[in-house]
Symmetry: C2
């Protein structure tokens, strides 16, 4: 069982099993509260809340020693409990705007962007060459937001159009000022170092640019996404 | 000289000397381009640009071996050059809005918030119990923004009022929607875990709240600051 959980540290193990590993009381509690499909809760003997979480989730509780718990988890100072959760099928919901991470390789940025999406009522989509959203670092920086929004994936802009979205690319210059969207929209956020590829920019229906003081190069992906999502909701929320 | 530079890893050494250590080509180049008062540039022998940077800055160039360079710097894979720069006197400029970090202890968040301030034409102020802004991690996450805005400090809200600012606190609920400011403003951003202390909130002239979807607790300090600074500039930039 412990061997099974450590396999979830790697993408291959997650894909093969269709499950991911949640670490620490905050993320596990958020998942349970949101009704996630929790399979197993791992806890150390001194953890008073793990049994309650396992019971709420209808999950199996496995109490392990500290050394075993250290192997299950990926941080240097792991906190009980951890949990194995079934990854929900990636879907592009029809009823909200989307934040789409396009080529975002940094797990911390991706996790923060998922948290931003959840905060502003956007669903989240992993575009091509984006880090696996169910890895330990992404789950940690998203702080439970995976369970407060929908998580989808797409391979091409046409997938977003097929889901009924106008496609708006975030670019460092030349786009419109962020503001409310005229219709259901997918906002593409590129990587901090490279931005969106030229062919992707050319295929967008519209472009948006956050105005900045001279001398500033770009904002990180999570901050850009947050400003665009906030501006989209002004007057609506 | 190498011994002197390593002392800048700690706040005490920075305060005693009035200098800070910049690491890596990006931050050093930004400081030189912005006309910072650079004292020494440390470089490894294979660094082709360090001599030019030192000459532009009117700074002394010191070529050191890789082992010595590794001791000077704080990252596991250090990149040449590094530089010792004089910390500018902390001042609260009179001509711009301010982002004020209030009790912000995380260096990464503080650095990103400085970058946000620079991007939106705000000056930056370290309030009470805020991490030293000239430490290596803050400098790294700010990516050179220390040299594109003014960096001040304050001990109390009255310091901000004395500098002619209306004081606006960012709070998770109950404040006004972010938007343009009526007059020169200081925006107080608290720590992610604790927010602003109650007595500080009570002493503010106005409060601002970023509307979020239900179930979302709070945004990190850099994201909250970015949204408020962006909203303040709408229609002005």
């Amino acid at each position: 069982m412990v061997v099974g959980a450590t396999r979830l540290h790697d993408r291959r193990g997650r894909v093969a099993s269709g499950t991911a590993l949640l670490e620490g009381p905050l993320v596990v509690a958020e998942a349970v509260a949101a009704g996630a499909d929790v399979d197993t809760v791992f806890a150390t003997a001194d953890d008073p809340v793990a049994a309650g979480l396992a019971e709420s989730a209808g999950a199996r509780l496995v109490v392990v020693g500290e050394a075993a718990f250290g192997r299950i988890t990926t941080t240097t100072t792991p906190q009980s409990p951890a949990a194995v959760v079934r990854i929900p099928p990636p879907s592009i919901p029809r009823e909200s705007h989307l934040l789409v991470a396009w080529g975002l390789s940094d797990p911390g940025n991706a996790g923060t962007l998922i948290r931003v999406a959840a905060a502003f009522g956007f669903a989240f989509v992993a575009g091509p060459r984006t880090v696996d959203l169910w890895g330990p670092k992404v789950l940690r920086s998203a702080a439970g937001a995976h369970f407060h929004t929908s998580i989808g994936s797409c391979d091409a802009i046409d997938d977003l159009r097929a889901a009924g979205r106008r496609v708006v690319g975030a670019v460092p210059r030349g786009g419109e000022m962020p503001g409310p969207f005229a219709s259901d929209t997918a906002v593409l956020i590129g990587s901090e170092s490279h931005g969106l590829p030229d062919d992707v920019v050319a295929a967008c229906d519209a472009l948006v640019t956050i105005p900045m003081a001279s001398g500033s190069e770009s904002l990180n992906a999570a901050i850009a996404g947050a400003i665009i999502a906030f501006a989209a909701g002004r007057g609506h929320m």
